[in-house]
Amino acid sequence: MSDVLTSVLRRRGGSLLLAVLLCALPFYLDAFWLRIGLFSMAAAIGAVGIGLLSGTAGQLSLGHAFFLAVGAYGYVWLAGEPGPGLPPALAAVLAVLLAGAAGGLFSPVAGRVKGVYLGVATLALVFLGHHVLLTADSVTGGFNGRSVPPLELGGFSFTETDPELTVLGVPFGAEERLWYLGLALFALTWFTARGLLRGRPGRALVALRDSETAASVMGVQVARYRSAAFVVSSMYAGLAGVLLALSFRRVVPDYFSLALSVDYLAMIVIGGLGSVAGATAGAVFITALPLLMTRYADQLPLVATPGSGDGSIGPTEAARYLYGAAIVVILLYAPDGLHGLARRTRARLRRRRPVTAPSDAGPSPRTPATTTARAKEHTP
C-alpha cells in the first residue's frame, strides 16, 4: 500500500503540491490578487477551449468572444430577473450547454470550412453577437449590461455574507469562495481536456490538422470531427463565460468584442499550440499583465497612472505593447510557445544530470537517445 502511495507521489507529486498551494492561497492573498487569479482561471478555461479548436484541430476561430458572451449572458438571463429565474447552479450548467448548442448551430459552417477561412466566417459571429447584446435590451440589458445573480449551491451562496464564513481566522468573502469554485472548474477543464487530447478524438483532430487526406483514409469523418471540435470549444468558452460573469458581477456588451477573441488567440500562441498547460500559462500571462500594470503604474517607468491623461502611455496600452512584443519574441525564438520552451528546458536538464551525477544508480536503464527524445510518460 505504501508502495502505491510513494509511486503516486513520485508521479503526481508536482501537481499535488501545486494543488495544495493553490488551495492555500486565499488564506494569504487579498481580494485584488484573488481577482487576478479568478480572471486567469476563467481565461484559462476559455483558452483550453480555443486551444482544442485552433491548436489541436488547426481551425482558426475569431468567434470565441461570442461563445464567452453566450455563456455569460446565458447564465445571467437563466438565473436572473427578467428571465426564467432558475436555480443558479442549474442556470450555469444550462448556459454551458447553450454555448455548446450555439456552436452546434454554427457547425454546418464549422464542419466544412477549414483553417483561416473559418476564422473569417467566425468573425461574423462576434459582430452579430455584439449587435444583439446591445439591442436586445429585455434579455441583455443593452449597453449598460446586467448585474450577475450570485451562484448558490445547496444553500451556500458565493457572496460576501450569507452565510457568514470565517475559516482559520480568515473571513471568506466572495473572492475567496469563488476562488475555490474557479479551481474546481479549472480542474474539471484540465481533466477533461487532457483526456480528450490523449484519447481517440485528440488523435483524430491532430491528424485532421496535419493532413486532412491522411485522416480521412484512416477513417476519420472530417466534417463530423471538425464540428465536434467546434462544439466542445464553444462549451469550454461557455464555462469560462459563466465564471467570468460571476467574477465581474456585471456583464457588459463591450467586453465581448473582437479584441477579446484576439486575446484568446494570443494566449494559445504564447502558451504553445495544442497543449493544455501552455494554454493555461498563456491565459495567466495575458490576463494578469494589464491588471498588474494598472496596479503598479505609479512605480513603473514610462507608464502614466490611470486618469492622469497627459498624453503618455496608460497601463492598459503599455500591457498591450508588452504582450504584442511577447508574441513577436515567442514567434521568432520559441514558435512552440511557453510549453515548448519548458519542455526543451526540462529535456536539457535531464540530459545534463547524468553528467553531473555519474554514480547515480537510479532506476533508469534507458538509452540516452530515447530519454532525450521522449518527453511524454507511458500511457498505462
Binding site: 481533466f191 477533461t192 481536456a193 483526456g195 480528450l196 490523449r198 484519447g199 481517440r200 478524438p201 485528440g202 488523435r203 483524430a204 491532430v206 491528424a207 490538422r209 496535419d210 493532413s211 487526406t213 491522411a214 485522416a215 480521412s216 483514409v217 484512416m218 477513417g219 476519420v220 469523418q221 472530417v222 465536434a228 466542445v232 495544442g274 530515447t370 527524445a373 521522449r374 511524454k376 507511458h378 500511457t379 498505462p380
Partner: protein, 266 residues
C-alpha cells in the same frame, strides 16, 4: 477487439476513367485483385498509378466505371467509409502526423475503436480499457514491422526509411483486408528495401490480406507480385504474371521506347 480473420473479398476495378479538366488521367482501366494476392501496378511517371490509388481509397471520384470490394461499391463511398471496410493505404510522400510512433499507429486503430468525445473527456473506464487494448495491438504491429524500439519516439526524429515504415505500420493497424502501398520503398537504401519487402511478404502470409502495390523498383515488383498491371498514359497496356509482363513488347515500348513509336510518344 476487432480483427478481421475472414479471407478478403476480391477487389474489382472496372472501366475506371478519371479526367482532370481535359486531361484523361485514367482511361477505361480494369483489373481484378484476387483475394490474398499481391497485385502490382507499374508504369512510367505520370502513367496514372497514384490517381488509381486515389480512386481506390475514395479521394477521387471517377467520371465512369466502378470499383467493387465484394458487394460494396467503393466509388460512391467517402474515404472514411472505405477505411471502415478495411481498405488501408500509404502515401508516396510520407504523410505522418505529429507525435510519437504510437500516436500514429493509434490513429490507424481509429475505425476499430469507439471512444467518442464524451467518453474520452470523462475518461470512462470503457474508453481507458479500449485504449489500452488497442495500444497493445499497435505495439505488436510495431514489433512486426521492426519499429518496436521506436514505439515511443516522436516520428519527426526518425530516419526517412523508418518514417516510411511508420506509414506501413499505421495502415496495418487498420487490420486491413486490402492494403494499398504507394511506392513503399522509394528513397530507401538496399537494406531498408529488403526489410520492407520482407514485412510485406510476412503480413500477407500471416494476415492473408490482398496487397495492391505501386512501385518503381522492378526488383521488388518481380519478387513480391503475383500479378502485374502496367499503366501507360492512363491506359492499362498489359496484365499478367511478372514474367509475362517483362516479355510483353508493349511494356518494353512504354518503358524504353522504340524507333518508330518513340517519336510520337515523345
Amino acid at each position: 477487439m476487432t480483427t478481421r480473420t475472414a479471407a478478403p473479398p476480391a477487389l474489382d476495378v472496372r472501366d475506371v476513367t478519371v479526367r482532370f479538366a481535359g486531361l484523361t488521367a485514367l482511361d477505361d482501366v480494369s483489373f481484378t485483385v484476387a483475394p490474398g494476392t499481391v497485385h502490382a501496378v507499374i508504369g512510367p511517371n505520370g502513367a496514372g498509378k497514384s490517381t488509381c490509388f486515389n480512386v481506390l481509397s475514395g479521394l477521387y471520384r471517377p467520371a465512369q466505371g466502378s470499383v467493387r470490394l465484394g458487394d460494396a461499391e467503393l466509388t460512391r463511398l467517402a474515404p472514411h467509409r472505405i477505411a471502415a471496410l478495411g481498405v488501408a493505404r500509404t502515401f508516396q510522400n510520407i504523410v505522418t502526423t505529429q507525435g510519437t510512433v504510437a500516436d500514429n499507429l493509434m490513429l490507424g486503430r481509429h475505425v476499430l475503436s469507439r471512444a467518442g468525445f464524451a467518453a474520452s473527456a470523462l475518461r470512462l473506464p470503457r474508453a481507458a480499457r479500449e485504449q489500452r487494448e488497442h495500444l497493445a495491438r499497435a505495439r505488436e504491429i510495431a514489433e512486426l514491422t521492426g519499429l518496436g524500439e521506436h514505439f515511443e519516439t516522436p516520428v519527426a526524429l526518425l530516419s526517412y526509411g523508418d518514417r516510411k515504415r511508420v506509414e506501413l505500420a499505421r495502415a496495418l493497424c487498420l487490420e486491413p483486408r486490402v492494403l494499398l502501398l504507394d511506392e513503399p520503398v522509394a528513397g530507401m537504401n538496399a537494406g531498408e528495401r529488403a526489410r520492407t519487402a520482407e514485412v510485406v511478404r510476412d503480413v500477407r502470409a500471416e494476415l492473408g490480406l490482398s496487397v495492391v502495390l505501386v512501385e518503381h523498383d522492378m526488383g521488388l515488383v518481380m519478387r513480391l507480385a503475383d500479378e502485374v498491371t502496367v499503366l501507360d498514359f492512363g491506359r492499362a497496356i498489359a496484365h499478367g504474371t511478372p514474367d509475362e509482363v517483362r516479355r510483353d513488347p508493349e511494356v518494353l515500348r512504354a518503358y524504353l521506347g522504340t524507333g518508330t513509336t518513340g517519336e510520337d510518344a515523345a
